[in-house]
């Protein structure tokens, strides 16, 4: 009896599910990471030294500890504390926080790129502090850092593969299971690599295009 069965069209649903899960968790992390990053980035520009020192250290930890370690630590300890969490939930939380740590720096430099005089001009038109934030500082600052934002978002899509280590059935884990059944690692990993490339490359080209257009 043959233990191994080759890759076949019957596996396409399984693979598609992996692809969708990868996209799903990436989108969740990018959306939540962007929203939190915007808030934290803004706080870093506006807050006093003490708050900034605290925020800065917390972000440094998130950025400096490898994502794979954060994932394993979090999902293991949350389970050990008696609150087991499903892999999607645990993965989303850590990946979102990790994304937030990078996004907050992107947005901070975006806010810093809006000259003070621009804010004064807006205030002199009678805008309140928050109106200035909403209509002037966010739109101008965000535009300036769009290419960097896209860069972070792209790396999140690729980093989402690491969530496989805590058992989330995204594309990489899906392919690992297929490999153990089919013993066709080369074909499968090439296919998976190609998928990430097809998603990432056009987006990074687009980012370069926007950057070029903005620099004119």
């Amino acid at each position: 009896m043959n233990l191994f069965t080759p890759l076949s069209w019957n596996d396409s649903g399984f693979i598609l599910n992996g692809i969708l899960n990868t996209i799903y968790i990436s989108v969740v992390a990018i959306v939540i990471g962007t929203i939190l990053g915007l808030i934290v980035g803004f706080m870093r520009v506006e807050a006093n030294k003490v708050v900034n020192l605290f925020l800065g250290s917390a972000l440094d930890i998130l950025r400096s500890v490898p994502l794979i370690i954060q994932l394993i630590l979090f999902s293991t300890y949350i389970g050990a504390l008696g609150h087991p969490m499903d892999p999607f939930m645990a993965g989303s939380i850590i990946l979102s926080l990790y994304t937030m740590a990078f996004m907050s720096e992107v947005f901070r430099s975006g806010f810093e790129s809006v000259p003070n005089t621009m804010r004064t001009a807006a205030r002199s038109l009678g805008m309140t502090y928050w109106q200035t934030v909403r209509y002037i500082r966010i739109p101008i600052g965000m535009r300036a850092v769009f290419p960097s934002w896209l860069g972070v978002a792209l790396s999140v899509i690729k980093d989402s593969a690491l969530v496989s280590v805590i058992g989330y059935m995204e594309l990489l884990r899906t392919s690992e299971q297929l490999i153990s059944r089919t013993q066709q690692p080369l074909t499968i990993l090439l296919g998976v690599g190609l998928f990430y490339f097809i998603i990432s490359y056009p987006l990074s080209l687009y980012g370069k295009y926007v950057e070029r257009k903005m620099s004119i």
């Binding site: 004064t120 807006a122 205030r123 002199s124 038109l125 109106q131 739109p139 101008i140």
Partner: protein, 241 residues
């Protein structure tokens, strides 16, 4: 009217305004001249409550500008201000630049805000630039946009802070023409300026600032043609040659 009474202002240890008294009547054009560091720009920032003051008071119509419970955003609706740097909002078209504050601050509908913005833009000669982005325009055009943007709030007073200083020489004329237009409309204006000839032509009153005090004030003829104070004479002889 704007009443400025004994205004003191310090930045740290540096006292920039040392007791300024100045009245600006409705419809009047007052030019403020003086060397750099004399406090003339700071005074504008204090009138607009962008900078707090350390003593005295400023009253615009019947609003006491620096009193604790004064709604400074409401106050700023009365006071249009244009700066040395034009500060166009780069993410908005010319029309949107001028319509933003009427929409957001005055709460006008988009249609009404655009209507006012169009009117003011046409007034300053930018009627053919509605859909242009300001970064594609010259400094002079952007400065006229800044004037239209302030006018779209339908202010009672306009404050001009060296609005031609950052412009290339060939662009100064178009901005000064716009200021003349406002004077002819009867707008009340305070112009901090280095353009002595312009001040002579448009002003009802000229104030010469020196080290945080008004050294000399009077009609353009008095202050610019026949200055009594030695410092005024020295300053004028420097800038006119």
């Amino acid at each position: 009217m704007i009443q400025i009474r004994g205004v003191h202002k310090s930045f740290g240890d540096l006292e920039v305004l040392k007791g300024i008294d100045l009245d600006v009547e409705k419809g009047e054009v007052v030019s403020v001249i003086g060397g750099s560091g004399s406090g003339k720009s700071t005074l504008l920032y204090c009138i607009n409550a962008i900078e707090p003051i350390n003593g005295g008071e400023i009253i615009v119509d019947d609003i006491n500008v620096h009193k604790k419970n004064t709604d400074q955003n409401k106050l700023r609706e009365k006071l249009g201000m244009v700066f040395q740097q034009w500060n166009s909002f780069p993410h908005l078209t010319v029309l949107e630049n001028a319509a933003l504050a009427p929409q957001v601050v005055r709460g006008l509908s988009k249609k009404d805000a655009f209507e006012i913005a169009m009117k003011e833009l046409e007034h300053v000669g930018l009627g053919d630039k509605f859909d242009e982005y300001p970064t594609r325009m010259s400094g002079g055009q952007q400065q006229r946009l800044a004037i239209a943007r302030a006018l779209a709030m339908e202010p009672s007073y306009m404050l001009f802070d060296e609005v031609t200083s950052a412009l290339d020489p060939e662009l100064v004329g178009e901005v000064l023409d716009t200021l003349r237009l406002l004077r002819d409309d009867g707008m009340t204006m305070i112009c901090v300026t280095h353009e002595i000839a312009f001040a002579k032509e448009v002003s009802d009153k000229v104030a010469f600032f020196h080290e945080g005090l008004i050294e000399e004030i009077g009609s353009p003829n008095e202050v610019l043609e026949n200055p009594k104070k030695e410092r005024t004479q020295q300053f004028l002889s420097k800038v006119l040659h």
